[in-house]
């Protein structure tokens, strides 16, 4: 029966003494090393259990050279945090702890020196990088300094870097393809080409490219509006403007659940029902797509699964001597819900009316 009041600070030496073995034996057991007699192992484990011993992480870090921490870097300078981003965190945190690492989340933007020091201080064993720009400086820096990392997203040039990303260009193309197949020809698009030009974030650039490609291939006129942010408000305003300029539009595509909601609100205000009078399609997480009314036809973006996979890739990297480059590009998929339909002047529509 241990007495004393508060912090006992049990050390490996205490365990060794209590179990009548040396500290190295205890250490071996702690680290799952093979050369230990089963009887000894049991005895020591029993003592540890009974006393509630835990090794001191700082000491392990110092002597063993690893922290068992994985850091997720999501600088929130150019981003809003929504369900979209949350799911990355949750997915990553879950995988990280499943592999017995600890999860360190950093949302403050960082300079090169800070990023390097994070690794050099031994505070983290590896890093998951988010908000990747086409010309991002971070992967090169980490690579040169031997810090294991995985990107969620990708640069323009990715030789030697591991990443997981979605094929955003194809995603946007698919959205338009779907609308065209329904019979739409006059389609409005809300995006952030300016944001793409200045900040050079991958998704913005690639979604824009997908839009351009779709218009070229399907011979569609360009009807787009640049929004500052992908919010309800900006989506609403941009849609009203676009609609008043081009009353012939029968569909809208945008890249976020929130802005899609703005689109729908604007359409309703102009007396157009979704999807009867106008279709709406977006890139979104499942949860958001279902929250909107009507539930959105959308390109799935499985943030949580991506976060989970990214963490797993990093763990794999950490457990390997060599560093195998893993590059995963996810194929987008489309989920049909209630925000898209044939255009109002379409033969099928007329048939439906009269049939």
């Amino acid at each position: 029966m241990a007495s004393s009041s508060s912090s006992d600070a049990l050390t490996i030496a205490d365990i060794a003494r209590l179990a009548q073995v040396s500290v190295s034996t205890v250490s071996r057991i702690l680290n799952g090393k093979p050369d230990v007699a089963e009887a000894t192992r049991q005895r020591v484990l029993e003592v540890m259990e009974r006393t509630g011993y835990t090794p001191h992480s700082g000491a392990q870090q110092l002597a063993g050279g690893k922290s068992s921490v994985i850091t997720l870097l999501f600088p929130m300078d150019h981003a809003e945090f929504t369900q979209f981003e949350l799911d990355f965190f949750i997915g990553a945190a879950s995988a990280v702890s499943k592999h017995h690492y600890f999860f360190n989340l950093m949302t403050e933007p960082m300079e090169a020196a800070d990023l390097l020091n994070l690794y050099r201080s031994g505070r983290t064993d590896g890093v998951i990088l988010m908000q990747i720009r086409l010309d991002d400086w971070r992967p090169a820096l980490l690579h040169e300094n031997g810090c294991p990392f995985v990107m969620i997203g990708r640069c323009a040039e990715n030789d030697g870097y591991s990443y997981i990303d979605m094929d955003f260009e194809r995603a946007m193309f698919m959205a338009f393809e779907n609308l065209v197949e329904l019979g739409h020809q006059q389609i409005g698009f809300l995006g952030r080409p300016g944001w793409m030009r200045t900040a050079q974030f991958g998704p913005a650039a690639r979604l824009w490219a997908g839009y351009q490609r779709a218009c070229a291939q399907f011979n569609l006129p360009l009807h787009y509006r640049e929004v500052e942010q992908l919010t309800v408000q900006d989506g609403y305003t941009a849609t009203l403007e676009l609609l008043d300029e081009q009353p012939g539009l029968t569909a809208f595509a945008t890249v976020h659940g929130a802005s899609a909601n703005g689109v729908i609100r604007a359409l309703r205000e102009r007396g157009r029902k979704v999807p009867r009078d106008c279709s709406v399609i977006a890139l979104a997480t499942n949860k958001i797509a279902q929250l909107v009314t009507p539930p959105l036809t959308h390109i799935n973006f499985p943030s949580d699964a991506i976060g989970f996979q990214a963490a797993q890739m990093l763990v794999r990297l950490l457990n390997t001597r060599a560093d195998p480059v893993e590059q995963v590009l996810l194929e987008p998929t489309l989920t049909l819900r209630d925000s898209t339909a044939v255009p109002p002047d379409h033969p099928l529509f007329t048939m439906r009316q009269t049939g």
Copy 2:
């Protein structure tokens, strides 16, 4: 010009040698201790800057006894993660890094032994506890073992524990008060009394209490439905049931943006417009309330500010020798948006029609 290829592993001894001082002097400078000549300090800082030196966190932890890590514990066994929860994380992470701590997020449920070991291992200096139950075992355990902590939420009994929480009972009462003032008498309520009874989470219990009190005080008939989860789907189903049983309902109250959306959808399906034919009010974050159509009249729940404050309280605790108990109970506030109005049979309504 430093050569070499990869990990140099610069230590405090290197800095001392390069700056022609002893390691203790460097250490003093590192820790902002007073007794150092300004000239020396500058010289050493310059060397550190030039070489890109960072102290090893493990060594600091071992020798200094602190980790500079704050852990947020949000066991996700009984919870879904939505924007609501995300904002806690973001707020807390932001405050934590603002005070030069690192932010460790743990979402896996934990046993007593694990929780204790987290602190004993020296991996964290303090803990922010979430998902607090009325009879939660964690605060007592941490308290007894000298681990600094702050709760987001509160138990039934909180002597000696620091917390920040919202007055949920009052929040729900306010919602009903508002509806009653508009003229509503037949109000449906969607909540989780069962969840409250079994899991004993504070908010569920207190929201329920607020509902009971409001009905008693305003002499309202009880019309409630228990939902499993506060999702769109469950809100939708429960509303349909309740509505078919009690067609006279002119308002609904619920406790989450998502379930409010389910309510609205169900009402629409039964041909009732919100807010013309039926009002809806909910407890929600600002963001969610605006995402729903129509934008929700709601009791604000500022998760991010709460997360931020909780982290600040903990930092304050960590920087103090004594442990001052801080207990913050936030007053709820109501934001009027577009989902509430006078009931359809109300004199004001009739006036509006004819006027």
